[in-house]
């Protein structure tokens, strides 16, 4: 009798494990995703680099100007799951992406899967990057290859136990990873559409400005899109940037675009915290991109937080 029970338990355990294993298989690039990859244009890729803000996490903490292009990683992100140490994504062949192909890069950006076939933690904002166009991915890859190689080895993350189980990220992805737009029913207008692509895709605004489900460990809650919440990294809170109460209703589109450019609010308060690095990236964009993001922010559903 006992033997039979034990056998049943072992068998059910094996079945459950097999199902888990099957559900969490890291994705490969789909034919649709690889079809659009082209020989990238590094000049066009610089714009993608600044909207993507790669240097805010992959360069040294507090890096300014040209130093933001030294992508040796090692920046420690202090989160409720533990400390993530960002990897080297400079063109160094041993530690960085020097030996990667554009397909491997696209699989990392769109599916959050490494060349070795492992899941990346969603601290790497692929849940936004998954909305990027294959052209932008290709251009960005070409641009990154032109940056200086930084010879610096990668350091391990320091995570709490349940989060150490990398394979489990497959389940997270099956629930939260989607390339559909975060907002629907926006005005049918080219500027707003451009802003939506920039903000929801490469700009990954929602990663910090949208509260997450499942006690902060889930994906962004699209019903409260851009309404702010606890900072995912470090202390403090991230503001509501919709036009609801507690948000930016009083800001005109040109106030927003001016803030992205100069770092000053309409009342001449300045940008602060982790947004400083983001604003400095945005200041490198063409003015029409800043205007497009501003137009998009004024168009997203207003959420009241006060």
């Amino acid at each position: 009798m006992l033997k039979k029970l034990l056998a049943t338990a072992v068998f059910s355990g094996a079945v459950a494990f097999a199902i888990f294993w099957y559900l969490t298989i890291p994705a490969q690039l789909s034919p649709d995703q690889s079809a659009g990859l082209v020989e990238g244009d590094p000049v066009a890729g610089e714009r993608v680099f600044w909207i993507g803000g790669c240097g805010s996490c992959h360069a040294e903490k507090g890096a300014k100007g040209e130093d933001k292009k030294l992508l040796g990683g090692g920046h420690r992100l202090d989160t409720p799951a533990g400390i993530f140490v960002t990897p080297n994504i400079s063109p160094d062949p041993d530690n960085g992406i020097g030996n990667w192909t554009v397909s491997q890069f696209a699989n990392a950006m769109l599916n959050g899967v490494s060349p070795a076939g492992e899941h990346y933690y969603p601290a790497f904002p692929y849940s936004s990057y998954t909305r990027m166009s294959p052209k932008d991915i290709s251009d960005l890859f070409a641009y990154l290859k032109t940056l200086p190689a930084v010879v610096k080895s990668n350091q391990p993350n320091e995570l709490a136990l349940p989060f150490k189980l990398r394979r489990g990220i497959g389940l997270w992805k099956s629930v939260f990873l989607s390339s559909s737009p975060a907002t629907k029913g926006l005005p049918d207008n080219e500027q707003v559409k451009t802003g939506q692509y920039l903000a929801e895709g490469p700009g990954h605004c929602g990663e910090c400005h949208t509260p997450r489900t499942v006690f902060g460990f889930g994906g962004g809650d699209n019903s409260r899109w851009l309404s702010g919440g606890p900072a995912p990294e470090g202390d403090g809170r991230i503001p509501n940037i919709t036009s609801g109460e507690g948000g930016v209703a009083s800001w005109s589109p040109s106030d927003l675009a001016g803030y992205f450019e100069s770092g000053f609010t309409p009342v001449f308060d300045s940008v602060g915290g982790s947004m400083v690095s983001v604003q400095e990236n945005l200041s490198m964009l063409p003015p029409e991109d800043r205007a497009a993001i501003a137009a998009y922010l004024k168009a997203v559903p207003a959420i009241n937080t006060k």
């Binding site: 507090g62 202390d235 403090g236 809170r237 991230i238 503001p239 100069s262 770092g263 000053f264 009342v267 001449f268 308060d269 300045s270 940008v271 602060g272 915290g273 400083v276 690095s277 604003q279």
Partner: protein, 154 residues
Amino acid sequence: MKRVIIGAAVAAVLSAGFAFAASHASPIEQRKTAMKSVGGAMGALGKMAKGEMPFDAAVALASFTTMNEVSKTFGEYFPVGSETGMDSEGKETTAAPKIWEDMDGFKAALAKFGTDTEAAMAAAPQSVEALGPLLGSVGGNCKSCHETFRILKQ
């Protein structure tokens, strides 16, 4: 001449208001009042630089002077015990814990603000063209200090 008088009056009102508030309030109120006066000065300079307000050398000088005065006293408004708390409007302080963890770094940032505003006062810009670069160097202090030492808590 009229402009100089207006400029001087603006400066006098700004610094008088600041001095009054500074002598009566809690550290959190003092911080807030001081930063508001810096914001007001920055606003005047920014509007002149953007051409939203006619350039006035006296207002420019008064604005840099206001900021410089704040840089000298601002560090005194962060005594131990004032790490948390609300202002009179019920808003939690936005001072980051980093201020107390790295008081030397915080004071150094204020000293740089003092040096840069002093240089702008000495330069006493007489045109919008001369104002631009000074505003850039002074304004950079707002961002670099707020990046590390300010945090949104509510």
